[in-house]
Symmetry: C2
Subunit: 197 residues, 2 copies
Amino acid sequence: MSGRQDIEDLIDLMARLPGLGPRSARRAVLHLIQKRGRLMQPLAHSMQMVADNARECVRCGNIGTGDLCDICADERRANGEICVVEDVSDLWAMERAGVFKGRYHVLGGTLSALDGIGPEDLRIPALVTRVGDEQVREVILALGATVDGQTTAHYIADELSGRCTVSSLAQGVPVGGELDYLDDGTITAALTARKSL
Amino acid sequence: MSGRQDIEDLIDLMARLPGLGPRSARRAVLHLIQKRGRLMQPLAHSMQMVADNARECVRCGNIGTGDLCDICADERRANGEICVVEDVSDLWAMERAGVFKGRYHVLGGTLSALDGIGPEDLRIPALVTRVGDEQVREVILALGATVDGQTTAHYIADELSGRCTVSSLAQGVPVGGELDYLDDGTITAALTARKSL
Ligand SMILES: [Zn+2]
Ligand SMILES: [Zn+2]
């Protein structure tokens, strides 16, 4: 009979989502309760299913439900190109643009002297291994136009020097901009105009 | 192995929450997946529990988990006062202010000639019945300071004329304002300075 507490607990959990504060979490929960058959039940079920099954691809770091993500499991994506991104959200942004046909490598962040993040904290050693194992012709660095993003790009270019072509997204990525916020056209333009490092 | 589709389905459902659009839903889902043990599993479980158990109180329209909500089930709240609100979110706002010690009646909206909403579409007949059954001394109308809110207040005051005292929240409710957006202090001031209609 602790109904009110169950609802308060749900509001507290919802308020921990990015983009929702305590007030909007409360409104969201009320909305859910009022549409509990048509929206809340399907949402709870969907969330439980993803929570039970989602995990990181052992090869590229993308989110999927098997050892390999959908992209790594798709042999048609083995075209000799790997696009390197910071986060899964950037991978999703690239996929929405729909212009890249190869595979990905999710670093999990950028190098940062300030935060003490070195190459071994990211998936950089795994990237070097993949370039050798997967007959990669070109690595395309799709990293943010931030200081840390560019530092990371140059570090990776050095590591891969002589092993394959290394290029980076060019025009279109605004200085200080994050990939996840770009529109599809900008991403397409930046990929098309990529330049060798 | 349709991992990507499960995640897209979850994003689509999340995007239907008030305050989240497609982009913020995507970020929220990614955040959940990255914290699936500490946040996503508890959230899915909490949401399922509320979805299975939450329902409207048969007496007042508040959300709870039994036939009667926590407030209607609490005999200490039977003090002869009923506070009438438009929506459950307004009831929650009143409870956060913590100043009202009686029970509630949730109308489920306001009268609206434009939208064709009449007394029988709201819980107004049930309110009249409660005033007779529950030895109610005073009905406090905590409706928004909108045209429809005030029309509804006057209609209810007429219906209850001669049966009990009818008052309404006074100073502090801004013109055109919605109760749910007020701070606790404003609600307290408005309740304390309530005036007889
Ligand atoms: Zn993968
Ligand atoms: Zn109740």
